[in-house]
Symmetry: C2
Subunit: 508 residues, 2 copies
């Protein structure tokens, strides 16, 4: 795997000095075209062996390119705000927007590699992490991002030589740490883990480029030229490449039976029992969130449903039981300019709360497979891949001890009409009803298909959908509160002190 | 001061139950009008005595209003990311955008009050903090924000009674902490500090509303009605009120002498000494940023200058000496949608870095008094007040051990023409020259006036402007590097271990 990177590649100084100015100018031009077009971001990962010149390569790139449109992230120790969220949150918050270049020193590979080498994890754990990394990159690629992954390699002899020579020079001595020598002693172990990483995660969309790290001239020129060529290729493509999807409709409806029709929308709850139950479950919810263990937990509640199905009212019944300091409600409308410059899931990642908090999404990432699908706001390929992207996203949340509770509120077409008309009549409610609502109504059947597909494909054991019969508001609100209480109660019961601890710090 | 809030105000349950539904509907309507118009944010501060019902009031507001457009911030312990920045950073990041309501439990008053009561600070310190708070609110008001400050009051007797009754009830016992009793013992001290705070910071734009806290019905209705009336009043105003400025031109130029003309633009540096000096000062800069004490420091560099004055090239000479992980360059262009929904300085606050970092602004907050003034993008009142707002902003940074280094790069009108023409001729540079650049050039004299006013009004001892003669690029680059090195060196020398510590945690 590393054969070509142990051949002793070398570029002489004269050639280097001749080539660099030309390369620089070309890189600057490509960078400006990228900034001007601003239709895709560039993500560069710099990985590799200690002493193989990762830091120097990054500094060189920054020197060659316009520092205003490139940003380097040294992903060292995570902050406490980062530790309270899933590991990937810190990468999402650092992703470059369209038109910019983000360079990552330390990436989503760093942790899995170190954990495996130090024996904290098994090969199976490692493979699982790599599979996740691959899926992440696949998604970023599908969102238009260009991903360039460099692996700077150094043979064992060369690494030793390099460390010794750095130590000899008083000007560079500070750069060699005890950690470096410790890692050197584990060279073979690292090497075998590295090989596994590279083998598993060199994909067509984001292959690893293995570069011999010893000679700075060779290393710099190779990295620079690779970036230039990749940028040029991508800039030449007039549009984001869209893979054609050739699939039959997800589940053809041939017998006119589907899950929404199985719901008994006549279910209802009279005023008196409703009041009792409301008090009971709001009290319980309040009690649960005051459990000391809750400080180590995070709850995310997703509300989706037909227009006028009563999402707002249900949300208020939840928030009414909580302390205002502990929750936030995120209404999802059209994405902002900054959100449009990022992959689809970015605008949800940014709202993932710290521990001890409840975040309620009024509409959510499921817009991708509902309104965006039905209205054609994204293409078929985009919403088709969204199912697994969403499952991956929620799995990451759940792995971090976040409870994801999802409600779909169903009302009948007749009930919706009644509510629409009622809203139009009532002064302060009329703002709630727009032409768009009436237009959506015309596509009732298409939405039903999309809802059924969504439930089939994203109702998972770790994060199931709860379908709520919402023709009767009382019934719906109690079902929602009860479900939420049960899920939190169960999670609290499962929460061992060990689970509650933040993921281990990146010490290496 | 608290007389009216110790009268035993009470609203009977029947009146309350009758009034609340009406108030709620009206509040909802006002809230939706606010969200629809989306032309100003609402900032609600809830302060007051322990046990006066602050938390309950906030929860009530959230219950009454639509939780999607109101967000509550319990400003408790700051996170490590917050501690590494000036105290106000955490408030800036939590400010509601236009159309939304932000409720703050704990505000920029909390800390000064606690520090004064516990004797950490003097009365003079307190007054200084209050003056700063007032200036902040003045600025927010001028930016269009509605600020409503509630002070929930409780007499000494009532506070004792309240704490005891909470303790007696098993359901509420958990809410009374040792801290509460400690604070109760210091009631008189608190009271006198509170009075001072309220007296100093009750302004026409943001007066304190003192509300008797004992009776929940009275308290809730009073707060709710005050918010309603304030919102209604403000929504009725068709445009943001603009105070008319009646001042003569800042400094009339009657003898044709101004600071820019005092610069000797013939200053230059030959290639050989330039190379030597560049190596020397880049080396020095690199060395300084590797000082262990630098980890406790933050450097912010501001670049302003005529178009084509060489900001980009100068920035690259700085970044070339730094590790790419330690700096970021922020190019300031037109604000994004999310930035436009916030006060002017918000888009700069968001880029204030953590400790141990260098942030370079390529153009900056000074756009307000330069391009925005000259091009009329904001009105006279806005740029006139910007001078002191900017001074306040930089003072906050400096108080937090941030070094703010500001460069103005001057070139002559003839040199600019030469560079413009040269840029148009050179392929990859032609992107750099736009019609706007040519238009700006026509307003050369107006810009000169704005630059002189800016320097006169914002070159302070804590953060002086360095005017750079930039007709010769070599000379300019060395002057910049040298100045930056000197300022960092001096700051490192002044940095006692004590200074370097983060501000004390909000423990109370």
């Amino acid at each position: 795997m590393f054969e070509s990177a142990e051949l002793g590649h070398k570029i002489d100084k004269a050639t280097y000095d001749k080539e660099v100015p030309i390369l620089r100018e070309a890189l600057l031009e490509a960078q400006f075209n990228l900034a001007k077009a601003a239709n895709f971001p560039v993500i560069i990962l710099i990985g590799g062996m200690d002493g193989a010149g990762r830091g120097e390569t990054v500094n060189l790139l920054n020197e060659w390119m316009d520092p205003r449109y490139i940003q380097t992230h040294g992903m060292g120790e995570p902050s406490d705000e980062e530790l309270e969220r899933p590991m990937m949150w810190r990468f999402w918050r650092a992703l470059p927007p369209k038109g910019r270049i983000g360079v990552f020193l330390g990436s989503w590979y760093t942790w899995p590699i170190l954990n495996r080498v130090s024996g904290i994890t098994t090969t199976a754990d490692l493979d699982q992490s790599l599979e996740r990394a691959k899926r992440l990159e696949e998604m970023l690629h599908a969102e238009g991002a260009v991903i360039i992954k460099f692996w700077l390699h150094l043979s064992k002899d060369k690494q030793e030589k390099r460390l010794k020579s750095l130590e000899k020079n008083p000007a560079t001595r500070w750069r060699v740490t005890e950690r470096d020598w410790k890692h050197f002693k584990a060279y073979d172990k690292f090497q075998s883990v590295h090989e596994s990483v590279i083998r598993h995660t060199s994909t067509a969309e984001a292959p690893w480029i293995i570069v011999e790290g010893e000679d700075p001239c060779y290393r710099g020129l190779t990295v620079g030229k690779t970036i230039l060529e990749t940028l040029r290729n991508r800039l030449e493509q007039t549009a984001t490449p869209v893979a054609k999807v050739n699939v039959p409709p997800l589940l053809p409806s041939i017998d006119n039976i589907h899950i929404l029709k199985t719901l008994d929308l006549t279910k209802s709850l009279a005023k008196k029992p409703f009041k009792d139950e409301l008090e009971k479950y709001q009290g319980k919810l309040n009690f649960l969130t005051r459990d000391p263990k809750f400080k180590n937990m995070t709850v995310i509640v997703v509300f989706e449903g037909n227009d006028a199905a009563g999402k707002g009212g249900s949300i208020r019944r939840i928030t009414g039981a909580l302390d205002a300091r502990d929750y936030q409600v995120i209404p999802i409308a059209a994405p902002t300019e900054e959100e449009r410059a990022q992959p689809y899931l970015w605008r949800f990642w940014r709202h993932i709360p710290r521990k001890g908090r409840v975040t309620i999404f009024d509409r959510s990432w499921y817009g991708r497979v509902l309104v965006e699908r039905v209205e054609g706001f994204c293409n078929e390929n985009d919403w088709m891949r969204a199912y697994s992207e969403i499952n991956d996203f929620e799995a990451q949340l759940v792995r971090h001890n976040i409870i994801v509770v999802k409600f779909w509120l169903t009302i009948s077409k007749e009930e919706q009409l009644r509510r629409f008309e009622n809203r139009q009549k009532t002064g302060y409610k009329s703002f709630k009803i727009t032409d768009e609502d009436w237009r959506n109504r015309e596509k009732w059947e298409q939405y039903e298909q999309a809802i059924c597909d969504m439930v089939d494909r994203t109702s998972t054991i770790i994060s199931p959908w709860t379908l709520v019969e919402a023709n009767d508001k009382n019934f719906a609100r109690i079902k929602i509160l009860k479900t939420l209480c049960n899920q939190i109660e169960q999670a609290l019961a499962n929460l061992s002190p060990n689970d509650a601890k933040p993921e281990p710090k990146l010490k290496h």
